[in-house]
Amino acid sequence: MARIIAGVTSSHVPAIGAAIDNGKTGEPYWKRVFSGFEKAKEWMAKARPDVCIVVYNDHASAFSVEFIPTFALGCAAEFPPADEGWGPRPVPVVKGHPEFAAHIAQSVILDEFDLTVVNKMEVDHGLTVPLNLMFGSPKEWPCRVIPLAVNVVMYPPPTGHRCFMLGRAIRKAVESYPEDLRVVVMGTGGMSHQISGPRAGLINSKFDKAFLDNLTKDPKKLIRLKHVEYMREAGAEGIEMVMWLIMRGALDDRVDEVYRFYTVPASNTAVGHIILENRQKKAASRLKRAAARANVAVRRSK
């Protein structure tokens, strides 16, 4: 059975990608940002996920305004890096997992999440920058990736509650897939930032830190947060943090926070990175005990 072992959040600032691509990661400004993701790479090397489900948003690359899907699941075998105006990023082609993705699509649609199936899609910095932050810059990405693109560009994006419940449905889909796969769900983007209009440059660290606290301990509080509050408190583009709730919804109610990093700024944004582990072992032993009890009961009744 496939299972979700952990969830992580990661920034997807395009300038981080540019810093990597132009060899600027050693500069003091960028060193501060990248140092916060050293632990992530170590952790990933140990976690060895077979598949990462990456919740992200496209930035006028694969989707223009011709169609704006709220949730779009990448079911292709490959997702080439998009040309965002200065040539595609020099990163490996992202390898999908079509069978698993098709299974997830079928399962969550029957669970009443009417997502769009995408069989051909290029992926922009929104997806590739988080992969760099979590895996560095290898020749090939070390695991398969299922992109889940969420509309957070046009208002209204899906509500936090909807995102959280989609996470739940994804978990159910994952756990009904017969192959033994270790799955990590990544929520990307954020944290507070506004890049448009006269209020551009807004950062609200107090909001961000409370958001991170609640993400670990009390996500139910976050799912009630209204869109207007995200935009007011965390900036017009800060609303993309609803994507993190898909990740959180896919995890156990109680999780272990194994790492957290927060810094301001990376380009125009606050950067928040957190690693949350499911308490799989305990859950697994609980299930075993329950199964053993059930077996005893069945034997007795015979």
Partner: protein, 151 residues
């Protein structure tokens, strides 16, 4: 029909790219999207006003684009991820656009970001009613309700 007033219109310095603006700004955003191709960038640069005729823009939208009035583009339905492509076509960094939109210099904007960004205090609402709060205490929708009725 005038634009319906929304709860988020009270957020200062912000043009939310909502479904209504998305409809209104379709031409602006499709124009910006066209700039992803080198041949289109060249055609636009050769004769801007002529090139813009292909996109079914209003005179106000055309004017905002020709003047590189980025805030006005947002107000008329442009989205920042799209209008940034126009900035890139002009050879500008995003920081240049941010400085333009915020009425700052590039240096001043960069300094502000390094110092922790634009503070939330004093920037919550036009009316001053937005109370300080954190993600830990999400609530309050009173304002939005009373406003939307008027809209």
């Amino acid at each position: 029909m005038p634009r319906r007033e929304q709860a988020y219109d009270d957020i200062p310095g912000t043009f939310v790219f909502d479904a209504e603006r998305s409809r209104q700004g379709y031409g602006i955003n499709m124009f910006c999207m066209s700039l992803m191709k080198e041949e289109n960038r060249k055609a636009f640069k050769a004769n801007e006003a002529e090139y813009l005729k292909k996109f079914n823009l209003t005179p106000e939208q055309t004017d905002a684009i020709l003047k590189r009035d980025y805030n006005r583009m947002l107000e008329l339905g442009g989205n920042i991820y799209f209008t940034a492509k126009l900035g890139a076509t002009d050879g500008h960094s995003f920081q240049h656009l941010a400085a333009l939109m915020t009425g700052s210099t590039q240096e001043g904007y960069a300094k502000m970001m390094l110092a922790g960004g634009r503070p939330i205090e004093g920037n919550r609402s036009k009316s001053g009613l937005g109370k300080p709060r954190t993600a830990a205490k999400p609530k309050s929708k009173v304002r939005s309700k009373s406003r939307s009725k008027r809209g």
